[in-house]
Symmetry: C2
Subunit: 336 residues, 2 copies
């Protein structure tokens, strides 16, 4: 009475062949209504659970997808992973999650491990991902999709945020609030650079430009909180200090708020700060953070749907889904 009931047991119980059982399970071929009933009853009675391994061996899907993210403990990625998981389960897929810590070595190890386990495909949620690694997988005909990260000039299925637009909207908002002297707190990664580009363009359109050099944070692995604090601190030491700061993620923004407070400045009275991502902590901190919202739920859903459509062979061309960010206004900003 254990795990050991196989398709043979069901066949015997229903007095049919295993082929028939297999067919009714997979709804294939034409099967008499009576036999179908008998088979279902037998499965029910024996509490039969098909062995996914065996059927996967025969070429069917494992119904499992590998998800590589930089760090599951980071709220942005855990929320994203959750939304991917949700949509995956809806569609009958399990997700195995691997945190790469932005390390190429780990990434290679996980990819190889998951390949051996015959996952049906990979979702890469930002991180290290050498382009060559992706190309290898595509060569081997393993479905992959990218989320929350863009590979410019590389044909790959991806759903990404319109980072440029996010930066543009953030700038637009701040400028409308009357801010002219604005500082940037950002990491040296592609998405952040895009956001800055959008931000800069919006400023230009209003005849504004940055009064201080932008210093990108190069060590991506360090605490974003600390990094944000440090960069903000520098800005606050200028004689001609900015009246607003645009931080390229919420953690950075919170670090900036802390830096301000430590310099005896009040947010938003003395300085406005806008973040990026709208992770759940944005509404928890004090003051609640005005931030550009990434539609995390939607992104998760979209990548999942994207990779499924690849499974189904619905596309051999490559799609790039671009989602629009929206501004969520809270209390870390004010008119000047």
């Amino acid at each position: 009475m254990g795990l050991k009931v196989t398709i043979y047991d069901v066949a015997k119980e229903a007095k049919v062949s295993i082929a028939t059982v297999s067919n009714v399970i997979n709804k294939k071929g034409r099967i008499g209504e009576k036999t179908r009933r008998r088979v279902y009853d037998a499965m029910e009675k024996l509490n039969y659970e098909p062995n996914v391994l065996a059927s996967a061996l025969m070429g069917k899907q494992t119904k499992t997808i590998g998800l590589l993210i930089p760090d599951l403990a980071n709220p942005f990625f855990s929320e994203l992973a959750r939304s991917i998981e949700d949509r995956g389960h809806e569609l009958g897929y399990s997700i195995v999650i691997c945190s790469t810590d932005y390390q190429e070595e780990k990434e290679n190890k996980y990819i190889s491990l998951l390949k051996q386990k015959r996952v049906d495909g990979f979702i890469f949620a930002s991180g290290f991902e050498k382009q060559s690694r992706l190309e290898e997988l595509m060569q081997e005909d393993i479905p992959i999709a990218i989320v929350a990260r863009d590979y410019p000039n590389f044909a790959v299925n991806a759903v990404a945020l319109d980072d440029y637009m996010g930066g543009y909207l953030a700038a637009d908002y701040l400028i409308k609030l009357g801010h002219k002297k604005i500082g940037i707190v950002a990491l040296d990664v592609y998405s952040n650079r895009e956001r800055i580009r959008g931000f800069k363009d919006a400023m230009s359109e209003h005849g504004l430009k940055f009064i201080h050099d932008i210093e990108l944070i190069e060590d991506i692995k360090q605490s974003h909180l600390d990094a944000g604090r440090n960069v903000a601190k520098k800005y606050l030491q200028y004689d001609d200090k900015p009246t607003a700061l645009f931080a390229c993620n919420d953690l950075l923004a919170i670090g900036a708020i802390q830096a301000a407070r430590r310099s005896g400045l009040y947010v938003p009275n003395d300085i406005s700060i806008v973040g990026f991502d709208n992770t759940s902590i944005a509404s928890i901190v004090d003051p609640p953070l005005t931030t550009m919202s990434q539609p995390i739920q939607l992104m998760g859903r979209e990548v999942m749907d994207l990779i499924i459509s690849i499974f189904k062979g619905e596309r051999d061309d490559h799609v790039r889904v671009t989602l629009a960010p929206t501004l969520v206004e809270r209390d870390s900003t004010r008119t000047i």
Copy 2:
């Protein structure tokens, strides 16, 4: 040149039988040094990756573990999942994560799904888990381990926090700070009740008792932030209001801080607040939260090691690992 290189290809390349190849892979039997080399060379040359599915079909492990948690987007659980994932990977296991949202229905669905996929075992990180469901799995001889949740009077492998001690220590700390009138913000779940029991006992030892009735939050699925805010608000409306609040998790504590602020009270000057869990948000909020720390890293590591030891058959008795919480003092508390 794809995924399709099998043990047969390796055998042919190395001019040996597949049995020999299998043996060198699994380091079984005695094999001549020369043939071993030839096999290794062949595997290397062909870029052979063993098919885990096939070997699992033969009774070997899938090297995959199912992890059921209430909600991956909750920082406590994402941090816990991360630590489990880390230890798992070190030991060669992949983790498939399922968020149950405290719903029995989802839980059943995931358990059945993962059984079909032949995971080697289950880790249950709190949540719904009917005891009967666990018993079923144990009957079927599927290894299971519990983490961050205790089943009193039920023989199961578990690593849990000493909740009673956590409550006791929190009370002890607050009392030493001079607080006598203390309120409780907690959920109506086993762990929280234990914490309160410890808290109460510590108070008794000092001849203290609660001046207001404790109202547990019954709707566990609602936003903890809101719930904390509401409960705290009630306390703050009493004429004889408490000078300190003990919240049974960090989110609740943050809700309490917000309630205080909205009533025009300053933390910690007007009221001290201590949380529980020491999730990463505890150090981010303002004021940084004094909280009982759960050793999340250690818990993850311990459950993983526990379930592995079950795989190895190192124990047929049941173990309960109990970890001690420690107080992390930040700025949400002060002497009275």
